[in-house]
C-alpha cells in the first residue's frame, strides 16, 4: 500500500480546533524556532481513515480466527472491556490528580491487587510494570534489594533452564546479574541434580516458567525451590503461562518468592499488535518493603492512597503503570469470578491435551510422558527429513487461514512448533486447525513445493529479511523539495 506520506499534499488537514479566544503572545525568539516544515502528512480525516482501515485489512487477528501462538495466550478480548477503559471518568484522569480526587481508580487498583494476591497466594502486589519483561526486572530488583540489605550484595547469579524465554536472560543482564544455565532432564523438566550443583553462595535467584516452555508442569517444583532456598537464593516464577493455573495451583505454595503475571495473556487484555500489556508482580511479605514507588494501599471499599514503601528500589515508569490495561483486567476478574477463572484454566488444559492427542500420531512429540498443561510442543524433525522445515509449515498455515504457532522455541526442541489454543476456542475450531495441519502433512508427502513456496494467499509473499538488514530502510525518505521552495 501507498504510505501516508505518498498521499499527502495541498495543505489538507484532518482536524478542526476551536478559535483562539485569548490574545496572541509575543512570538518565540527566532533562533529557537524550527527551520522549514516538519514533514507531517497533509490529509483529510477521510483520507486518513481510508489509509489506516486499508492497512488494517492486511492484518490477521483474534477476531478473525484462531491464533495458536504458544506462550502468548491469544485468547478472545471481551468487547465490554474496551468501553470500560474508555469511560471518561476513568480515561480522563490525570496521573498527578491528588489521591482524594482519584478514589475510583485507586479502589479498582487496590481491588485488583487483592485479586492477584488471592490468585498467586502472595501478600504483596505492584501493578506498575508495563509488560512481562518489566515485571521480570521488577522481580529481580526486589530480589537484589533483599540480598543487598542483608549484606549479601555479592549474590549476582541467576539460574535458569536452557528452555527459558529470551527475556529471562536479557532481564538478568539488565539487573546486573550473570546467567547460569541449568540443564533440562529427559522428562523436559529442570534437572534437580544440575540445579543443586549450580546453586550456591553467589545465587541471587532461580528463574523458572511454570508450566515450563514445553507446556509441562515442573513435577518436582517443591524440591527445586527448596534447593535454591537452602543455597540462600530466592525463586522467581515467570508467570507467562499462568493461564494453566487459575484456581488450580498458586506459585506461593510451590516455594516461589515472587512472580509476574501477564495481564495481556492470562487476563484477556488485548495484545494491540505488540503492546501495551501489563506485568504486575506479586511477592512474599519479605519483599514488600522494596516494591517500586508507589503501591496502592488502604481499604478497597474506603479510602485508598499511593504509598511509597520504606526501602523501595525506585520506579519503573513515570506513573502508576498501564492503568488502562488494569481496568480491563479488573473487568475480566469481576466478570468471571473464582469459578469462571478456574473454568478458564480447565478448558485451556483440555483444549491443549485434545489437540496434542489428535496430532500425536503425525508429528514427533518430544517429552510426551503424560498430560501437558495449556500448551504443547511438536517437533517437525520428521518433516524436515523430507526437506520441509517447520517454518514452511507455519507459512502454509497462513494460506489455510490460520495464524501459525510459535516456531523454533523452545530452543531445546528441533524444528519446534509450540501450540497454545487457549480456552476461548471451541472444539470445531480446534478440529479445523488440526485438519489444516494434517492437510499440510499430506502436501509434504505429495506436493512439498506447495509448502516450501508458502504463503501464496497472503497480502505479500515471503519477505526478504536479509535485504531488510543489509539495505536498512527504517523511515520513508523525504520528498525532494519542489523547485523554488
Amino acid at each position: 500500500m501507498r504510505t501516508i506520506f505518498e498521499m499527502s499534499g495541498g495543505g489538507r488537514c484532518g482536524v478542526s480546533l476551536p478559535e483562539l479566544d485569548v490574545p496572541e503572545a509575543a512570538p518565540l525568539p527566532a533562533d529557537l524556532l524550527r527551520e522549514g516544515p516538519i514533514g507531517l502528512p497533509e490529509v483529510t480525516e477521510g483520507e486518513t481513515m481510508r489509509h489506516f482501515i486499508g492497512l488494517s485489512s492486511l492484518n490477521y487477528h483474534v477476531d478473525k480466527g484462531m491464533y495458536p501462538l504458544g506462550s502468548c495466550t491469544m485468547k478472545y478480548n471481551p468487547k465490554h472491556h474496551e468501553n470500560v477503559a474508555r469511560m471518561p471518568g476513568l480515561a480522563g484522569l490525570h496521573p498527578l490528580a491528588p489521591d482524594a480526587l482519584a478514589q475510583g481508580t485507586l479502589r479498582i487498583m487496590r481491588r485488583l491487587e487483592e485479586y492477584l494476591s488471592a490468585i498467586t497466594g502472595f501478600p504483596g502486589v505492584t501493578l506498575q510494570p508495563a509488560a512481562g519483561a518489566q515485571g521480570e526486572l521488577c522481580g529481580l530488583l526486589l530480589i537484589r534489594s533483599h540480598h543487598i540489605r542483608r549484606g549479601e550484595g555479592h549474590r549476582n547469579e541467576v539460574l535458569m533452564p536452557d528452555s527459558a524465554h529470551g527475556t529471562n536472560p536479557a532481564t538478568s543482564t539488565l539487573a546486573g546479574c550473570r546467567v547460569v544455565g541449568v540443564r533440562s532432564n529427559e522428562l523436559g523438566e529442570v534437572d534437580p541434580e544440575d540445579l543443586r550443583a549450580k546453586a550456591g553462595p553467589n545465587t541471587a535467584a532461580f528463574m523458572l516458567t511454570n508450566p515450563n516452555t514445553l507446556g509441562l508442569f515442573e513435577s518436582r517444583i517443591g524440591e527445586l525451590t527448596a534447593i535454591v532456598h537452602e543455597a540462600g537464593g530466592l525463586n522467581y516464577m515467570d508467570g507467562a503461562n499462568m493461564n494453566a493455573l487459575l484456581g488450580i495451583a498458586r506459585p506461593a505454595d510451590m516455594g516461589f518468592d515472587v512472580c509476574h503475571i501477564n495481564l495481556h495473556k492470562t487476563f484477556s487484555t488485548p495484545h494491540g499488535g505488540g503492546g501495551p500489556g501489563a506485568g504486575p508482580v506479586a511477592c512474599s511479605a519479605d519483599l514488600i518493603p522494596y516494591l517500586p514507588d508507589a503501591v496502592v494501599t488502604g481499604d478497597p471499599d474506603g479510602g485508598c492512597r499511593l504509598e511509597r514503601m520504606p526501602w523501595s528500589f525506585g520506579r519503573l515508569l513515570a506513573f502508576q503503570g498501564n492503568v488502562g490495561v488494569l481496568y480491563r483486567a479488573y473487568a475480566y476478574v469481576r466478570s468471571l469470578g473464582a469459578k469462571g477463572l478456574r473454568e478458564v484454566s480447565e478448558n485451556a488444559l483440555i483444549n491443549a491435551n485434545y489437540m496434542k492427542a489428535r496430532l500425536r500420531g503425525h508429528f514427533d512429540v518430544p517429552f510426551d510422558h503424560g498430560p501437558c498443561m495449556h500448551e504443547f510442543v511438536l517437533s517437525g524433525d520428521r518433516q524436515a527429513a523430507r526437506g520441509v522445515k517447520t517454518l514452511d509449515m507455519a507459512k502454509r498455515l497462513l494460506d489455510y487461514g490460520f495464524h501459525a504457532p510459535t516456531v523454533y522455541f523452545p530452543l531445546i526442541v528441533h524444528e519446534a512448533m509450540m501450540i497454545e489454543p487457549t480456552e476461548t476456542e471451541g472444539i470445531e475450531d480446534l478440529d479445523a486447525f488440526v485438519e489444516a495441519l494434517l492437510g499440510i502433512l499430506r502436501e509434504v508427502q505429495e506436493k512439498p513445493h506447495l509448502v516450501t513456496d508458502a504463503p501464496v494467499n497472503t497480502p505479500v509473499l515471503r519477505l526478504d529479511e536479509v535485504t531488510a538488514v543489509k539495505e536498512l530502510c527504517l523511515v520513508e525518505p523525504r520528498k525532494e523539495a519542489p523547485a523554488g521552495n
Binding site: C13, G14, P18, P23, D31, L33, P37, G39, P41, M49, L55, S56, S57, H61, L69, V84, L93, H94, P95, L96, A97, P98, L101, Q103, G104, A130, A131, Q134, L137, H165, G166, T167, A170, G247, R250, P270, G273, G274, P276, G314, F319, V323, G324, V333, S335, A338, G340, N347, L349, I350, H403, F409, E423, T424, E425, I427, P455, L472, L474, V475
Partner: protein
C-alpha cells in the same frame, strides 16, 4: 461454559475421551497433590453480569472527581483534544486483537503503520531513525542512557537537574548496576543548564548528557552550545523532548542531539491515570544497531513487491538472550499507532496549530496570574513554551484545594522551588472562561494572605 468459553460438558466429555483420560483431574496428575487447590478454594468476589459491572464501574468513575475538572496539570502528561476518528481505528479488531507481527505476511497493516510511526517520530525529532516504541517517557530516558553507554563504552551519564524527576528516578532505577554512575548537573536561576558545572561533570569522559527540551519547569533553552560541550567531551547528547513543542521549536537533531526520546501521550493518547502511554526513541543512523526494542524495516517479497518486516532482530532478547540490547519484548504498539494516527490527522498544519494554541493559552494564563499581587515567576527572564513555574504567596496545597473546589486541577506542586511553587500548563482545550475562573479563585486565596 460461560460467555467466553464455547465447550460445554458434552464437548468436554468427548475431548477427555479422545485424550484417553476419564476425568479432568487426570490432567492435573503432573501437579503434586499438595500444590493443587480444591475447586472452590480460590476466594474472589462473585461474578457479575455485564450490566451490573457497568453499574459498578459507573460508581467508581464517579469517585474520580478529578477526571471531570479543568486540567491545568502537566508535568509529563497533558490533557489534549483527541479527535473522534482516532478510536474508530484503534477499535478495529485487526489492530488491537493482533499479536506482535512475527508472521510478517499476515501483519503488514501493523508493520507498515509502525514504519510510518518511525518516520513521523524521526521527522519530528530531526533524527534519521526511530524504534517502534518503549513503555513511556521515563523508560525511554533510561533506555537512551543504556544505548549511549553501548555506543561510547563509558559507564557514566549526567542528567540535567531540570529533567522530570520521575524520569530521572526511572533512569536511576534502570542504571542501578554497581559499575554505572549517574551524576546530576544543577540549573541556574533562569532555569538554564549550569554551563560551568556541566563542563566539570562531563570532563574526563561520559556516555551521555541528558537534557529535557523544554525543561521540566517549561524553560526553553538553545541546545546547540550544550551539544558542542558534550560532544567535545566525547559523549552523546540525549534530549528528552516534548513532542508538541517540537512542532514549533528547532528540532533536537538540528541542534546536534544524538538520541531523542520522549513521552508520546500528548499525541492522541488519553491521560488514563498514567498509562498506557508510549515512549518514543529516535537516533542518528549510526546508532541504529545499538538501539533497544523492535525496529521495522522496508523490504521486498519473493515477487518484488514492497513489504515490511521486523529487522535488526539480532539485537533483541529472543535471539541474543543475555547479550541483547534490552529485555523489552511487549512494547506499546497500539499507542504508537495512536501517535501515528494523531500526527496524520493533525498533520503539518493542525499539529503546529495545536502547539501554537498551547503556547498562546499558557502565556495568557501566565500573564494573568502574574497580575495577582504576590505572585512571581520562579525563573524570571526565561523563555517558556507551554508550561511555567510560578511562586504563589500561599502554600500550594491550600491553593490547589481551593481551585479543586471550583472544579479546577490547578497544577503540580514544586516543593523544591518553594512552598507556594506550582507547575502550570494550558493546552488547546483550556478555554478563556476556565482561565478566568482559575485567576479569580487564585486571586481570592492570595488576597486572603496579602491583605
Amino acid at each position: 461454559m460461560g460467555r467466553y468459553i464455547p465447550n460445554g460438558d458434552a464437548h468436554r466429555a468427548r475431548m477427555l475421551d479422545e485424550i484417553g483420560v476419564t476425568s479432568f483431574d487426570d490432567l492435573l496428575a503432573p501437579i503434586p497433590a499438595r500444590f493443587r487447590l480444591a475447586p472452590g478454594a480460590l476466594r474472589l468476589p462473585d461474578p457479575v453480569s455485564e450490566l451490573d459491572l457497568q453499574r459498578e464501574l459507573d460508581g467508581m468513575a464517579a469517585l474520580n472527581t478529578g477526571a471531570g475538572m479543568a486540567c491545568f496539570v502537566g508535568a509529563g502528561a497533558y490533557d489534549h483534544f483527541i479527535p473522534a476518528a482516532m478510536d474508530h481505528v484503534l477499535l478495529r479488531s485487526e489492530f488491537y486483537t493482533a499479536y506482535t507481527p512475527y508472521q510478517a505476511e499476515v501483519s503488514q497493516g501493523t508493520l507498515q503503520a509502525i514504519f510510518e510511526y518511525q518516520t513521523l517520530i524521526a521527522r519530528l525529532t530531526g533524527m534519521d531513525m526511530a524504534n517502534a516504541s518503549v513503555y513511556d517517557g521515563g523508560s525511554a530516558v533510561a533506555e537512551a542512557c543504556l544505548t549511549a553507554m553501548r555506543v561510547t563504552g563509558s559507564h557514566r551519564v549526567v542528567l540535567a537537574g531540570s529533567l522530570n524527576p520521575r524520569w530521572a528516578e526511572v533512569a536511576r532505577t534502570y542504571l542501578g548496576r554497581s559499575e554505572f554512575t549517574v551524576a546530576e548537573v544543577p540549573f541556574l536561576a533562569d532555569g538554564s543548564l549550569d554551563a560551568g558545572a556541566t563542563e566539570g561533570l562531563v570532563a574526563g569522559g561520559c556516555a551521555a548528557l541528558v537534557v529535557q527540551y523544554p525543561g521540566y519547569f517549561g524553560v526553553v533553552e538553545d541546545l546547540r552550545p550544550i551539544a558542542d560541550r558534550i560532544h567535545a567531551a566525547g559523549g552523546l547528547l540525549v534530549v528528552a523532548a516534548d513532542p508538541v513543542a517540537l512542532a514549533v521549536l528547532r528540532s533536537p537533531g538540528d541542534a546536534g542531539a544524538d538520541i531523542v526520546v520522549g513521552e508520546g501521550q500528548s499525541m492522541g493518547i488519553p491521560l488514563s491515570y498514567g498509562g498506557p502511554y508510549a515512549g518514543f526513541m529516535a537516533a542518528r543512523e549510526s546508532i541504529a544497531r545499538k538501539m533497544p526494542g523492535r525496529i521495522i524495516g522496508r523490504t521486498v517479497d519473493r515477487a518484488g513487491q514492497t513489504g515490511y518486516v521486523m529487522t535488526l532482530q539480532t539485537r533483541e532478547q529472543h535471539i541474543r538472550r543475555e547479550k541483547a540490547t534490552s529485555n523489552i519484548c511487549t512494547n506499546q504498539a497500539l499507542m504508537a499507532l495512536a501517535n501515528a494516527l494523531y500526527l496524520s490527522l493533525t498533520g503539518e498544519t493542525g499539529f503546529r496549530e495545536v502547539a501554537l494554541q498551547c503556547y498562546h493559552r499558557s502565556h495568557h494564563l501566565h500573564d494573568r496570574l502574574l497580575g495577582i499581587p504576590g505572585v512571581r515567576p520562579c525563573f524570571p527572564g526565561s523563555t517558556f513554551f507551554r508550561e511555567f513555574a510560578l511562586e504563589f504567596p500561599v502554600p500550594a496545597a491550600r491553593l490547589l484545594e481551593r481551585l479543586a473546589s471550583r472544579g479546577i486541577l490547578g497544577g503540580h506542586p514544586l516543593p523544591g522551588l518553594g512552598e507556594g511553587a506550582l507547575l502550570v500548563t494550558a493546552t488547546e482545550k483550556r478555554t478563556r472562561g476556565e482561565m478566568d475562573r482559575y485567576v479569580e479563585a487564585a486571586a481570592g486565596v492570595c488576597g486572603e494572605v496579602t491583605r
